[in-house]
């Protein structure tokens, strides 16, 4: 019988050489006349150990990593395909501390299965949520989602159940489900990992959303920087159509749903839902005024659910295991789990799915192992380029939407980027404005003009020109942008800027006392 070996096809694993390792193992096995069966599985999300390969043994799957092509010969020498010891041996995969200490619900299958095998998906509880949903009324599906406490994982944390109810109640012949897969926040990759490593869970979530609100058409608006995810999603959609999960009369019911992927074109602002809808309609991604909400007048003026990838991919497990199962995780009003992404200057980077409530310190040190450079961690940015920079004294804050709001920070999409003490925070603040200037849609003045003026004011503070006056001007500008911008782009850019100024005034050439708000 062939030995079963798993080599990830996740694009981050490939970016570290997984395809080359795959080819080398294939060649070596052929030369040595060893019968192997390679599964290109998803990544488990332990990126400091990628490419991490696994072998199926009677005791369970065992892992080796990080494997480079120069390790392949020695792995064959010790007959790794039997699960034997090697300097890269990591033991039973499930027992690796990083994985063992997680609560993987949305990510239950990621890294275990072959992403485009619908048989694997079905074997690992796939489509159970859809089958349950098909037996329920629309109101009862939405009640289940509302009771689970699921909130929008894209960053805004709006209750998913309420959004769906609004769309259900909006009278219209035509409604749409739009998946926001324009994951542009630096430090985030959980959407990408779901799409590349378990695409069927997103497809299932979108079908259930369509069923719940009465929509028969779905779009996945996918950022153009993810060519790998595009291929896998299209492959998975074709398979789902072939098996009767998409198309007319799904699983013999009278519900029909079609789904397609639309490639975005590199505009960060199109992650904002109204800008995304404009873009899908074939226009410049200019932000719309709200109201009307997209739930009432969305794509082509029709009621539209716009949800993030993770929100939609969490729907199947809720509909499979029930609202209370999901709501039992988490704290306060932040129910369930969050796929957290550790990035930047950390020893151990990757994907951790945990119930809300874990502290930044646990994430940075217990999971992350401290900085990659071995220097002290000076600041972390949580929630992407619009999230606040936090200093060490805030590291005990539990990951919870409300607790983060209290310290003027955001959980956002769950990305955490760590910086060591060589970082110049005035430079990061300036970059926040620069990014806003590059990516602003230009519709509202505070964002379009404020971002450029902001860079200039920071330059003046750093040069030492009228510091007191310019610091006050910077705060005033921040206030104008927060209160006067049309969307979160201009409205949140001051968060990283002002937090950098408050916590790290010395980097701006200021005394600590001069800056306190």
């Amino acid at each position: 019988m062939a030995y079963k070996i798993f080599i990830p096809r996740d694009s981050s694993a490939i970016s570290l050489g997984a395809d080359k390792v795959y080819q080398e193992i294939l060649n070596e096995a052929k030369n040595r006349n060893i019968d192997i069966n390679i599964v290109r599985n998803g990544s488990r999300g332990l990126f400091w150990l990628e490419p991490m390969i696994e072998v199926e043994t009677p005791k369970g799957r065992v892992a080796y990593g990080p494997v480079t092509i120069s390790d392949v010969a020695s792995l064959f020498e010790i007959e790794f395909f039997l699960g034997n010891k090697h300097p890269l041996f990591l033991g039973i995969t499930e027992d690796i501390k990083w994985l063992k200490n997680q609560e993987r619900l949305t990510y239950a299958r990621v890294g275990i299965t072959d992403p485009v095998s619908i048989l694997d998906y079905e074997k690992w509880d796939g489509f159970k949520g859809l089958k349950n949903s098909l037996k329920l009324s629309q109101e009862n599906i939405i009640k289940e989602i509302a009771d689970s406490g699921l909130r929008g994982r894209g960053g805004a944390a709006f209750p998913t159940g309420i959004k769906w109810k609004t769309v259900l109640d909006a009278p219209s012949e035509k409604k749409y489900i739009v998946c926001n897969a324009d994951e542009g926040d630096s430090g985030t990759f959980s959407d990408r990992m779901i799409m590349e490593n378990d695409p069927f869970v997103l497809i299932e979530g979108m079908i259930i959303a369509g069923l719940a609100v009465g929509a028969d058409q779905g779009y996945i608006y996918l950022r153009s920087e993810y060519p790998h995810a595009l291929k896998i999603l299209n492959e998975a959609i074709d398979i789902a159509v072939d098996k009767g999960y998409l198309g007319k009369n799904i699983l013999g019911s009278d519900f029909s749903f079609t789904l397609e992927v639309t490639r975005a074109a590199g505009a960060y602002i199109c992650g904002e839902e109204t800008s995304l809808l404009e873009s899908l309609e074939g226009k410049r991604g200019m932000v719309r005024y709200k109201p009307p909400l997209p739930a009432i007048e969305g794509l082509y003026g029709k009621p539209t659910v716009v949800n993030n990838v993770i929100s939609l991919a969490t729907v199947p497990i809720i509909m499979d295991k029930g609202a209370s199962f999901y709501a039992n995780y988490g704290m306060g009003r932040s129910k369930g789990t969050l796929p957290i992404q550790l990035a930047g200057n950390l020893k151990q980077t990757g994907l951790i799915e945990k119930a809300f409530g874990i502290s930044l310190r646990e994430l940075l040190y217990d999971f992350g192992g401290g900085s990659a450079t071995g220097r002290p961690i000076k600041a972390v940015q949580v929630g992407g380029p619009l999230g606040a920079f936090l200093p060490e004294e805030q590291f005990d804050t539990p990951l919870d939407y409300e607790k983060f709001t209290e310290i003027k920070a955001v959980v956002g999409h769950g990305g955490i980027v760590a910086f060591d003490d060589t970082v110049d925070m005035s430079k990061m603040a300036r970059y926040s404005f620069e990014f806003c200037a590059i990516e602003s849609c230009g519709k509202c003045t505070p964002c379009r003009i404020g971002s450029t003026r902001g860079m200039e004011v920071i330059d003046k503070i750093k040069e030492g020109t009228d510091q007191e006056k310019n610091v006050s001007l910077l705060r005033d500008l921040g206030d104008t942008m927060v209160n006067g911008s049309l969307c979160a782009m201009g409205g949140m850019t001051p968060f990283p800027v002002i937090s950098a100024l408050n916590y790290f005034p010395e980097d701006f050439g200021l005394e600590k006392t001069e800056t306190s708000a």
Partner: protein
């Protein structure tokens, strides 16, 4: 440089293909750029006619999106991630190194036409920063040795 008749023919095939599709401009521009390597300004007029839009609207659309370009790039496109996670791992040094080595700034092409250098704001490879993308291949934990290799292969291709 004027477009060849073959290029014009290709553009007109794409225009027809998406004519009845709602929200056609995004898939249409991708199809043209995937095929020709860029979206030539000469295509704006036929598109505007077929889709009943003004040339200004087409121009506004194409120039809004960073991904679309109106000039033919070099044989390879090297994108360097400038976002926060990569900055935390030294992407600024990498940018300087590449620009110096290639003798070009962002949005420019090397004299031998082998590489066009572009900035990018996140490749979703933040657990393996700093990251770059060469054509459609993402490379993680890039250092000077790795970038030398990428540039060498691009020049030889």
């Amino acid at each position: 440089m004027a477009l060849s008749s073959l290029q014009l023919e290709k553009i007109s095939v794409h225009i027809q293909k998406y004519q009845d599709k709602p929200g056609a401009l995004l898939p249409l521009m991708h199809a043209i750029q995937d095929d020709l390597g860029f979206v030539p300004e000469e295509s704006f007029k036929p598109i505007s006619k077929a889709y009943n839009l003004s040339v200004a609207e087409i121009h506004g659309f194409v120039t809004f999106y960073h991904h679309f370009r109106t000039h033919l790039p070099g044989k390879n496109i090297l994108q360097i991630c400038r976002a926060e996670s990569c900055q935390a791992m030294g992407s600024e040094n990498l940018e300087n190194y590449c620009q110096e080595k290639l003798g070009i700034d962002y949005h420019q092409t090397t004299k031998d036409n082998s590489i066009t250098l572009e900035p990018v704001y996140c490749l979703g490879n933040c657990a393996c920063s700093p990251a770059v993308m060469i054509n459609e291949e993402v490379v993680g934990r890039v250092n000077e040795t790795k970038i030398d290799q990428i540039i060498k292969e691009a020049r030889e291709s």
